[in-house]
Symmetry: C2
Amino acid sequence: MTTEIQPSPRRATSADVARKAGFSRSTVSQILNGEDARFPAATRDKVMAAAAALDYRPSRAGRALVTGLSDIVVVVVPNATYGPHLQDSVDRVTNASATAGMSVVVRFAAPDDEGTLLSMLDLRPAAVVDMGVFTQAQRARLTAAGTRVVPNRTPLNPGEDLDPVDILIGRLQVAELLRTGVRRLVYAALEDGRLDPFGPPRFEGITREASARGLPTPLSVRVPLEARGALAVLEPLVVDDSPLGVCCYNDDVAIALLSAARTIGLAVPQQLALVGVDRTDVGQLISPRLSTVSIDQPALMDTMMRELAEPRGGRGEPAPSLLQADLAALVQVVRGETS
Amino acid sequence: MTTEIQPSPRRATSADVARKAGFSRSTVSQILNGEDARFPAATRDKVMAAAAALDYRPSRAGRALVTGLSDIVVVVVPNATYGPHLQDSVDRVTNASATAGMSVVVRFAAPDDEGTLLSMLDLRPAAVVDMGVFTQAQRARLTAAGTRVVPNRTPLNPGEDLDPVDILIGRLQVAELLRTGVRRLVYAALEDGRLDPFGPPRFEGITREASARGLPTPLSVRVPLEARGALAVLEPLVVDDSPLGVCCYNDDVAIALLSAARTIGLAVPQQLALVGVDRTDVGQLISPRLSTVSIDQPALMDTMMRELAEPRGGRGEPAPSLLQADLAALVQVVRGETS
DNA sequence: ACGTGTCAGTAACACGTGACAGCTACGGTA
DNA sequence: TACCGTAGCTGTCACGTGTTACTGACACGT
């Protein structure tokens, strides 16, 4: 360590503020932390002015040390192929947390990865926004460690780990396909080295809706995102003339199948109907325009953030946060020309 | 199950390790921090065993408080439309940092945003991986605060803030277009509310290559990602029969222009040649297949990580990290049928 | 004058760590 | 025996914060 850089402009501490304001450090601390009712306005103003003049911001390390919690909000994103709306979502969290003086950071994680959980426990963030990584049990461990976890999804059946949003997506896809007279259904997941946390709940939704309409459990296939591979998956599915309906994991998968259908001369949507997820821009630029399920991620995030802003000691019921009624507004079918 | 977890499963501290090993806390601290040469093997082993048995991991807060630096590595990503390879890139950073016991987090930021910089200074991360957010001056402030910044891009001309990677991308696009006999060039940026940090260096690369080939500075337009808007941008560009070549900001922009070209019956690539960036899967699935510049993000990241792993007191020259020779292997044209 | 209550503010502690000076015992040397 | 160097380890400080128990002063009622 030869290059010991000194020009680091030492940050003002609460002691500096206290000295400048002419009070003790504890007084400063209490006033800055909202216990200002105890002190007269004159004192309060002096302290605030001194803090502002020195551009005082409390040291995260010091605060974390004494409270046991950092002021970091971690957004945990599954390391699957996430839709294109990630940045919009994170923006919402960032804005919502900025008012509370929290820093937002994103962490990609393999689903159900224990290492990720340990890392979270280690970091002791003030809150974790879980975009589909942890199981209920893992969430409980975080909560036990004093970390707030959103969304606080209350599963329909206890112990069930299926996200109601994804279930609804599956149901909507099936409903849209059946609208056109399709009688055979297939679920097309993404062929990818990484795991897919959204697959199971979506497939569950597809199965439920199919069952409700008197159809058997659909077949599930995995589609790679290149022409030859997609073709190899699609071809064996075409066994007779009955129109086939495919619920695709996302718009990219739908486009891959669309490309394959064109190669073997399959008419879309007459012989093959497709529904994607995410309403990507490209999906609306190609022809035929893609039918897809659009998710209002920013609004969904805002809902979560409202939950985050709730007072800590959440007495009574913890506000089910995502009512079915809300969901219908946030998840909608965009009808293109492929279904 | 109802795992009755204690409200706070207090993490083992170095004092616990010391008690268990039968030595003082300072001994533990020194041994665990690599000063083990001073101690006999027997002592060292006992301490290590105790630490392992208690699953001791030092408190980030405590360490940060005394060292003044946290052990967080922040990847700062511009809040522009980033390519689809973000997660792969971040994975590389995560793996590289895991060995050093660091946590990686991602932060989206508006380009040149002062608030983001303040947040960084506040967080005092051990290192910042800058994916194109900060200016040279801002990087210098981070360095002065003791934070390591990678990549340590040494600009060709002092004070120049243009990323050589993006410049190369622009040159390659022009070279590919000119190969087909195009004589008129246009740069198509993305019409988006967010700023675009990659635009200027790419346009610079395009301009330089055009100039080197005896062409004037190309026109620059902004393309929205929907059919009507793209059409409105493309139409006025078609003034005569001379073939038009468009360097697109990314594959999505290229697809939008492709769609517009089809609408007005423009032959691709005879009348309109396109080159995208990012080699998205969808770009290779549509027809005609997209010509595009592929960037080996993971490899690029590995290069940066090697820089991160370098010893702190970087004596001598700071290793220019990105030689032109390396670049040629990392950034390559993928020829489709649109150019 | 005395006890009581309130207000305004403070001293002291705890959090967990790294750095460094210093202590003890022991063996060697004068 | 007296002195000294050193290996091996420990004591203590500092980092910046939030919290709690406490103090001094003053007002009030008896």
